[in-house]
Amino acid sequence: MSILDSAKQAMMGAIVRLTPDAPPDPLIGRHGAVGSQLSRIDGPLKVAGKARFAAEVPYDDLLFAAVLFSRVARGRITSLDTSGAKAAPGVALVMTYQNAPRMGAPKIMGESPMAGGPSNLPVMQDDRIHWNGQPVAVVLAETQEQADYAKSLIRIAYEVEPAITSFEAAKAHAHPPESVLGEPPALETGDAEAALAEAAFRVDNLYRTPRHNHNAIELHAVTVVWDDGSLTIHDASQMVHQTAWTIADMFGIGEDKVRVISPFVGGGFGGKCMWYHQVLAAAASKLAERPVRLVLSREGVFRSVGGRTCTEQRVALGAKADGTLAALIHTGVVAMTTHNSCPEQFSFPARHLYAADAIKLAQEVADMDMLANTFMRAPGESVGTFALESAIDELAIAMNIDPIELRRRCEPEKDPTSGAEFSSRHIIEAYRRGGERFGWHRRNPVPRSTRDGEWLIGHGVATATYPYYRMPGAGARITLSADGHALVQIATHEMGMGTATVQVQHAADRLGLPIHQVSFEYGDTTLPMGTIAGGSNQTASVVAAVRAASDALFDELLRLAGNSSPLAGLKADELEARDGGLVSMQDPTRAENYAAILKRAGRDELAIEASAPPPIEVQKYSMHSYGAQFCEVRVNETTGETRVSRFVGSFDTGRILNPKTAASQFRGGIIMGLGLALTEETMFDERTGRIMNPSLAEYHVPVHLDVPHIEVIWNDIPDPHSPLGLHGIGEIGITGVGAAVANAIFNATGKRIRELPITLDKLL
């Protein structure tokens, strides 16, 4: 960041802090549909196998695609023989860089609000190879079997160039990224190294986390069709508008010429943004002049859809005799490429969690020749909390105090790096409630002191944390019908978070309607633009947009109601929505329902669209969610196998909108955290840059038997500064889990493992 940018940001910060708070959302204290255990409204479709995913949209005349991937990490294609493939039965097209339509390079996500490209590399436009696994050819045929067979007949020769495929080698040239999601890559207050050297108690260690892949069970898939210069993409997407804009930009057509539809997404976790397959399918379909379905193989997903990058982190903590921190140092390096921007913000937790006299934080990136890495569930926080929260545990052991007590002593009054006030922080309460539920006071703090036969038993705890985000730019449309039904539309995303369910609950309360009178449409670029499903921002962003639309709707209803209405003379802020209409808060006898207002005005329906106000709250306050993750493990002394036998997650995430779907979100995050802790690793061949375990048989996600009953509880204390008092909860569940498990394993065995995943070999 330049000095000028920093100065501008500081000035903006000062202006924002002086801006008065928006009045709290009037629905914060109200009980209605929000807060109820509504079952998923798309449940019947999903359990009956009738929810239609991207690869399931039928078209006559459909062609099936197969994608061939490069086997070298860097170089150029010297010869291409596609004659055998072209002559194979059923083949309609073989596309390579030689015949692909000319397209501009994608604009990278973050470059502008609408850009969504995974990297700025051109897609199949030249003979250059940038990573081992880059798509080099697409075959279209009448059936999938024919396409797969024809693909095997393509012959390609490469001229191989030296590539950086060793993280060790790349680290030698590590450098700070331009920014880490808009934050400076390095921060320093005081002289942390000197404070560390003089501290009464010290821990100073390196922690390593491997590459991960999202591995949503639905394969990345698109069904695409061109019609008169317009492109429709049935996608599995967590960012429909940015995908449409970026692809339109690449093809040099208007953004209104690309429609992305994505009503159901079979798991995303950060992996279902825009990648190369959407572009390749669209390009091949354009050449073949027929609709195309492209479903990546599981191997294809590993080759061409990025995952979480690897990290090497140093955490050093220096404590004074009273247990407060004199120094907090969290630095490290991650692998990235020169053609993307995703520096895995592992230092973010340390920016907000603990008070320390001196703080030093620094992130670097090491450039490698590999597939662009990307966001995966709690990018940064998931692996950053593994290092930081392991180190806190190590410090507590060095000081011989309880790790929860150590955290209590380091609790800051204000955000330790920004100085901003916390909007809502009840982390100690989460620890208290979680500890009670888990029975923390009964744990034996002496390592390797509890056993059951050959099983060593241990207990560990760690802090979970994830920021509150609300992204700008979301708009919503509400259409109120004369029969009192409301249709809410916004191009948001449902990947299993419960978006549609919770937004129906919200709109019902906002509009004073029963749930069955509200419907919700999403996942289509013809609707008002929402925000990407990322950063756990979606619920807050959509709620704010729908609230803006409902405010505008009430203004318009008042205008339509006119002078003969019981509402005449009242202002919108004197009203509340209740029982299918508007009611004076002062005098409940002054009320009129929507149907009556529309009927008198001679209207069949009323449609209003509005956008959410900018998210001033996130600039004014330090807004984060917190949690306390408690874990019990059993480690087999003979085999080194770790089994998680109990888990309690206690969360402080604002107000919970639907306890049923929220519990699933928390548990899902924790379970992905158990995979991160114990089994998950994308193995990268440092000689060739090739991923060695591109399958679900060799990349080990948790299965049924790996997962005990997980208890989740929450404070349910609303954040006065957020819509509905809510915080997004999609990502916090995974944070802290790696450290909670590692800390429990230390308590069980006396072995401190600082490199994930904690596999059997590391415990023998």
């Binding site: 079952s39 998923r40 798309d42 449940g43 019947p44 479709l45 999903k46 359990v47 009956a48 196998g49 929810a51 239609r52 690869a55 399931e56 039928p58 099936f64 059936t143 999938q144 079997e145 024919q146 067979y149 999202h214 591995n215 949503a216 069970i217 639905e218 394969l219 159901f264 997404v265 079979g266 798991g267 479903v295 193989s297 599981r298 990947m495 299993g496 978070m497 419960g498 049923k660 779907t661 519990a663 699933s664 979100q665 548990r667 899902g668 995050g669 924790i670 379970i671 992905m672 399958s695 679900l696 048989a697 996600v701 948790p702 299965v703 049924h704 038997l705 790996d706 997962v707 009953h709």
Partner: protein
């Protein structure tokens, strides 16, 4: 080729290389059966053949002619859900819903295996004629069905609630 799918006789002219999964999804429009890996590693494609669960991605369609194939579409419909489908909704046994048809089909066959006294790796007494419905017994038997959203707790609760109830009703009827 002639197939019996969800009690209907269906003629289809497909390549002998076509998997049962691709036959269902790409040729017959029965897309309730899902493709998650095409390698037999995730269980999303689970269907029942003569009452037994198989990974349809590892099965060549040509080998399954004239067998009784049951898919999620044949198990229940939106208006008339199978009790286990309803329990999945009640206990939130899914999030994205993609692995769900496979989980449900797998569970239906799995219960049959328990009732027939087929032991699992966790069954301690192999001589038992009646194997219990313990949580771990079900977890072990369902471990071939992956769920990346992590709805495992809800899935186990849905299975236990459905079949504990059914078993109780059966006992009552027998009495």
């Amino acid at each position: 080729m002639r197939f019996i799918i969800n009690e209907h006789s269906i003629e289809a002219d497909v390549d002998v290389r076509t998997s049962l999964l691709d036959l269902l999804r790409d040729h017959l429009g029965l897309t309730g059966t899902k493709k998650g890996c095409n390698q037999g590693a995730c269980g999303a494609c689970t269907v029942l053949v003569d009452g037994e669960r198989i990974n349809s991605c590892l099965a060549l369609a040509v080998q399954y002619q004239d067998r009784e194939i049951l898919t999620i579409e044949g198990l229940g419909t939106i208006g008339d859900l199978h009790p286990l489908q309803a329990a999945f909704i009640e206990y939130d046994g899914f999030q994205c819903g993609y692995c769900t048809p496979g989980q449900i089909c797998s569970a239906v066959a799995m219960i049959g295996e328990i009732r027939r006294g087929l032991p699992s790796a966790l069954t301690e007494d192999l001589a038992l004629e009646q194997i219990g419905f313990s949580e771990d017994e079900i977890r072990e038997r369902m471990s071939g069905n992956l769920c990346r959203c992590g709805a495992y707790n809800g899935i186990i609760e849905a299975i236990r609630a459905t079949y504990a109830e059914e078993s109780a009703q059966e006992r009552e009827a027998a009495a």
